[in-house]
Symmetry: D3
Subunit: 248 residues, 6 copies
């Protein structure tokens, strides 16, 4: 049940029996020579829809822009500053809290979003406590990183070993191939790929990761593997969502 | 050519022959008893993709959240504050300007976005002029409201007359029906529908427009009409885009 | 009745029978080789005072600084950033709302202010709804652009035709001549004057509008015409104000 | 020479021989039962014009809104928050610095502005140093409080002794009477007037200063005294301005 | 009684009989060739602790970073922007106001903090009035500048005369020597030392005060004098604090 | 070598051979019935000083206020909002980057700071890249959480097992006892202690963790254990710091 494809009376009706909502958040950032710039948003969105179907939960509009400042030396990356993203998250939650939602389950496709999301949640709880919204103190947010699902992680290790890397990974590329099987990109990938270097500013990042990959070999990805990741993530996050909204 | 479905080298290549980009911006807001909450984003996005195909232009990720504070008394509406949206637009443009983009063509689906977008563009030009980006003074933004295209407007008047109204209009509903023919919602619509009352705060808006419609009769909409609107808008905005990027 | 020339008990007394206030907003920006930098503020203020007298309404202090970032490549222009102006408008309205004012009639002298004002009103309604002010949901703002009054517009077209242009217009210059008949400036004006080019950043604006005028011939202006504009604007906006505060 | 009454070429010409500008800043706040709400702006503006004439200096538009949050429990007071005023001052100076101004002489009519102005200047110097404006490190601001001019202060003490008080003072009221001799307000003033209590929040202020005066007896004011204050302030601040711009 | 060295039940107990708290604020800024960069924080903290002991008052954590933008051209200076410091002060007070504190006695070691602190207090009172905190209108802040204590000032004048200067003064250096007798720094100090030049931006400051001192001769300082300053300041500020919290 | 206890020429000299600095950041928050409110700052500071001595590194002033909004329902907690803390960190780093520092090693005592610090670093790199600071792209920050040092963690598990918990832990309490052996607090601690419940808003936190502890038994702590933790943390973080500044 997608919020964007619902009417307001349908939302009102939904709120009569559930106060939970699933929110996909991705990023718009370079994913190496073959990965789609929208990878993180595509993955978060498709899994969120799957979880929404499996649990009959409402799914809100995807946040396509995340915190990817360190990727901005590559063409096409669009990042919010953390202070902007905090305001966006605060506005997003506040509006829905006014509507009556109380459980916000963020399905996240980008590791770089986690810190800012956590900061945003803390600031939002505090902000809501200062407004006159009934039950403001019952608002809860949870981040669910699909790529950190136990079975997703295990499958990635099994399939790719160290070549999974940490950015532009074969697992996320596989998932986008599953979603867009006609959009499988190829390029000659240097077999030597940088890894392990910490993330600082954008120019520094590009100096150390010249083609954008971090230790990964996305050429290993296939759409079939993508489907497996999809199914594992949907299963695990559906359970997580149901536990989240069931908690007293 | 969708930015989200491109790789960074593809974007770099695109920039070697064009600096233009199309950006869809919608809103997530009530659209009456039968209109989809995502109507404005759906319309902007589908038309932007059509224009992108027709003109071989890059299309950036859709901004699903716009300025809809006056709709927030209806369940499911999610609005950014104007000051938040200004920061989002500033971040969006700045990142792409650093990449080398210089012509930003915003295809807009929501009248309530126009004022804040204009404010944001002004602030962004000024901001960019203070940074060290080469050619910052050549950055240009244009807003293209699909619903204000001459032929779109004329067709809406011809088909619906006064029942077009100004929010939750049959024309925009028709367009969403064209995109999602399986999602045509029905409800008993009061034949008396408020209109002409100005927009102030959210509670006031709901008092005056109790079911969310502003003078419209969305029951008149059909998917076939939606297709017509789509084609007219794509044609007209494709011309607008080409003129925009051709201008010295 | 000018707020600045009243005492607080007088304001308190005024609030016992009216909650309306008129607020002039102008700009401090170049107006071509012969137009006063304060033109927009001068025009808004004098008309606001006229309307205030005609309707026995309170008139607040003029905002001399508006949104004129695109004029900042010309000496003497002072602009607020949109995000600053939003805060100013929010503070202005909030203080008066706490006093008990509920109808804010903004007489505006500068087209460039409109977008930011609209954004500011939306943000202010939302802000006030979150505070504990009684009747916050009854706060209403209206923008009245004197230069868009029907009869003002018609007279300008009749007197000047296309030479009215869109910035540093003979109509606004005439009005300042009516106010300051001793300050009529002259300069050799190029008969070729740029027009029709959209507004982007400041450097770009000056490149396209090298003397600051936009399609206008302010040499046509006379103080007598200014008086006519004054009278037409005061008459029309007095009616608008009375309708505004009478509305339920 | 008033900026608002100049054209941009006149400003450009002025900048060829002087980089100094005088900026009046007042406040819009209760001034007791008989004082005008605009007292501080009226005083600052008239003196600034006098100094501008005496020294052939440019005078910028008056900031009518200052930092008067502690007066907001009285009807008609309009205050900017300090954080808003800082942005306004930063925008004001930045625009003029881009034009080429380097010496900003702020003639201030309200004690409550001083702290925020000082904070704003510091933040502005820092901000300008980060931009690409030539000679940013030569920007200087000075606050000139007309009511703290030595001879003004001495005359007030001589004329009114302790009844000068510290807010809604007879000296400032006298000055407004000199400017607006037809607007002399009267009211029965309690001979017992609170004084010496520190300033905290707005509700607290009104509890301790129930009619808004702080230890003053504005009934002592006459327009003739106002003229004397005017002349003393103009003389002293003209000297201050000339010294300020002459300093290496 | 230091807040940092207390438990929350101890704070709760303290609040049952007192709502006062002492907050030391310093700065991290150059203090000439021999003065410690932390001088202002060291002085404020040690005196605050002394006052806390003498009056059995709670002492909050020291704010080490103040408003020292004009010193940032010297290595090691760390300053907050005024707009940042305002937010810090607002957060500091708001949290403690929620706990139940109502009297905030700021012991300040740096003249450059005063303006921003005053601005911050005004903004905080206003902010708190908009929240739902009980007794928000009873929150009061007071700044106590130890170096402006009457007897401190007199002793400094007596000991050092004009060589006290106004920054990197022997009195504050003496106080740090009393606290850190093993850290007495020496350097050849030019006997000619700049003084009397106003403070503008950082580069300008360093041009006029090349070694950082403002008219002072810190070589005159001794730890014994530091002890005297300490005792005088603690005595006077203890009285001030007790008066402050006793006031109705 | 403490920045606060150095002179600016000493800092300048230090910069001639090192660009590294250690910055302790803690929090001011409830630590259960017996833990000091300043625990996190005390631990971070003492370890930072130890590392500074062991590595001859400069140590900057401690940030006593961190992100502890979820603890604000307990008396005495003082938290910055994440958006405030981001500005503080940005100002802190920017000033030192202007001085010439390039390696910022943040020794952190509070898990709740990590997310906001990471967000702040990202925003700061981006901010610095837009300024004119030489070598802005070489600025690097690293967070070192003393409580996550491998041997610290192992010792805590060995000494306390599950009773280590995750807030108001015996390990951090032991460390404060080592620093302040005279300040060992006792209280009757409920043997049943909540644990495992996620962190949302402040009121919710207190409902679930009524005495502030999260699964811990701080009564197990001894000063001797504190010394062990101190030594292990200093040893490990000294190595980390040296690696950090040695990295190309
Ligand atoms: Ni990714
Ligand atoms: Ni719509
Ligand atoms: Ni104009
Ligand atoms: Ni006054
Ligand atoms: Ni000092
Ligand atoms: Ni802790």
């Amino acid at each position: 049940m997608l919020l964007q494809l619902s009417t307001w009376p349908e939302v009102e009706n939904y709120l009569s029996y559930s106060t939970g909502i699933i929110i996909p958040i991705g990023s718009t950032e370079q994913h190496g020579p073959t990965g789609l710039i929208g990878t993180d948003a595509i993955c978060a969105e498709v899994i969120a829809k799957g979880v929404g179907e499996a649990t009959a939960a409402m799914v809100g509009p995807t946040l396509h822009l995340g915190m990817a400042l360190h990727h901005t030396a590559f063409s096409g990356t669009i990042s919010l500053r953390p202070s902007t993203l905090i305001q966006v998250v605060m506005d997003y939650i506040t509006c829905l809290a006014v509507s009556g939602f109380r459980r916000f389950f963020w399905i996240n496709g980008h590791g770089g979003n986690i810190a800012t999301l956590k900061a945003a949640f803390a600031e939002t709880y505090y902000h809501l406590a200062n407004l006159n919204i009934p039950h403001a103190d019952e608002i809860r947010c949870e981040i669910a990183n699909w790529f950190m699902c136990r079975e997703v992680y295990q499958l990635a290790k099994k399939l790719y070993g160290d070549q999974e890397g940490s950015h532009a990974t074969p697992s996320e590329v596989a998932l986008t191939q599953f979603v867009y099987p006609d959009l499988i990109k190829t390029a000659t990938l240097d077999t030597q790929v940088a890894s392990g270097y910490p993330i600082y500013g954008a120019a520094d990042f590009r100096r150390h990761y010249p083609d954008g990959r971090m230790g990964s070999n996305p050429a290993l990805a296939t759409p079939e593997q993508g489907q497996q990741f999809y199914q594992l993530a949907v299963k695990e996050l559906s359970n997580s969502y149901l536990e989240f909204i069931a908690k007293a």
